[in-house]
Subunit: 176 residues, 2 copies
DNA sequence: ATGGTTGCAAACGATTTGCATTCCC
DNA sequence: GGGAATGCAAATCGTTTGCAACCAT
C-alpha cells in the first residue's frame, strides 16, 4: 500500500478515478461511454494543475492520435460531460472572470487550492493554504453549512512577469 | 472631522464617491454624464452589501420615480458604465458561477470581503477575514505582486436554510 | 429492448459593437 | 466645436437544448 505522501503513478491514478467514475455512474443509473472516458483522459494527458477551457479540452480530443484512447466527441457532449463530472465532484469548475470557464481535475478532494491571476499577463499561479482550510472549517461549524468547495482568487499584477519559483503557468485569464 | 470608525451619512458617502469619480474621469479625459450618475446612484439606493446583476441595475433605473436623480439609461450604456467603474475601482465585479456577473459598490477598498454561496437555495452571505488579509499580504510580499483584489468564495449547502444571524441575503446564485 | 447518450443544428442569453446622433467640457 | 458618450439594433460568443439516431446495459 502506498503511503499518502507517495505519489501514485499517473496510470494508477487514472484507473482509480475511472473506478470512482464508474461507481458513481452506476449509482445514478448512468452509463460509461467512450466520450466520457475521452474527456477524462484529457486531464491525464496534461500536466497537473492545468486548468483548461472547454474549447481546449475539445481540441485536445480532436488532435489525439490514438483512436483507442479518445474518440471524437462533439462540443455539445463535451459541455454535457464536463457538467456531469462537476456534479460528480471529479473535476472543478474555475472562474477567472473571463468569458469562459476553466476546468481542472480534482486529484485530492481534501486539498482545494487557490489561484493568483495576473491581470496584465494573464498567467496564473496556484497555492494551497492551511490557514484558509482552517478558516473554512471554522465557518462551516459556526454557520452550520456543508462546504462543497472553497476558492480564494487573488487578482494581481505580477510586476515584470515575476516567476520567482516557476509557479506561474501560461494561461489566458483575465486578458483585458 | 469624522473618525474612521464613525459611519458617514449616506449622502456624504455618495458625494465623496462622486468626487472621486469626477477626478478619475477628468484624469482620463472622460466626462461625467447623467447616465453615469444614475448608475452610481443605484448603488446608494440599495442596502449595503447588495450585489446586483446588470439586469437589476438596469431595471432599478427605469423604475426610479425622481427624474432628476436617474435618467433613462440604455442597457448598452449600463454595461459600458459598469465596465468603466470596475476599471476605475469604484465597483467590484463578482462571479458566483452563474451565467451573469454581480456588481457591488466598493465602500472601503481596504476591506475586501468574501462570500458564502449556497448551492441549494442560492443565498449568499458575506464576511471579512483578517486571516485572509494577512495571508494575501504575505503572498504579495513573497511573490512580489501587487494585489488588486482578493476574494474567497465558499460554495456550500446551508442545511435548512440556516439563517442564524441574519447574514444570508436573497440572491439567485448558483441556482440549478 | 429500452432508456440513457450523442451529434447536429437551431436556439439562447449575456455582453459587445458599429454607427449615426447627441451632448459634455 | 470636437471628441466623448449614448441609443439602437445587429452581431458575437459561450453554452444549452430539441430531436432523431445510436448504443450501453
Amino acid at each position: 500500500m502506498a503511503t499518502p505522501t507517495m505519489a501514485l503513478p499517473l496510470s494508477t491514478q487514472a484507473e482509480q478515478l475511472k473506478e470512482r467514475l464508474l461507481d458513481t455512474l452506476r449509482q445514478r443509473g448512468l452509463r460509461m461511454t467512450p466520450q466520457r472516458e475521452a474527456v477524462l483522459d484529457v486531464f491525464f494527458t496534461l500536466p497537473e494543475g492545468d486548468h483548461l477551457t472547454v474549447e481546449e479540452i475539445f481540441e485536445e480530443m480532436g488532435n489525439q492520435p490514438q483512436a483507442e484512447l479518445t474518440a471524437s466527441v462533439s462540443l455539445a457532449t463535451t459541455y454535457r460531460t464536463l457538467k456531469l463530472f462537476v456534479s460528480m465532484g471529479i473535476i472543478r469548475e474555475l472562474d477567472f472572470s473571463e468569458d469562459h470557464k476553466h476546468y481542472e481535475l480534482i486529484r485530492n478532494p481534501e486539498a482545494p487550492h487557490h489561484h493568483i491571476i495576473c491581470m496584465d499577463c494573464g498567467k496564473t499561479a496556484e497555492f494551497e493554504s492551511p490557514e484558509i482550510a482552517a478558516l473554512v472549517e471554522r465557518l462551516a461549524r459556526e454557520k452550520n453549512i456543508t462546504v462543497v468547495d472553497a476558492q480564494l482568487k487573488i487578482f494581481a499584477e505580477c510586476a515584470n512577469m515575476v516567476d520567482d519559483d516557476g509557479m506561474f503557468s501560461d494561461h489566458d485569464s483575465l486578458k483585458k
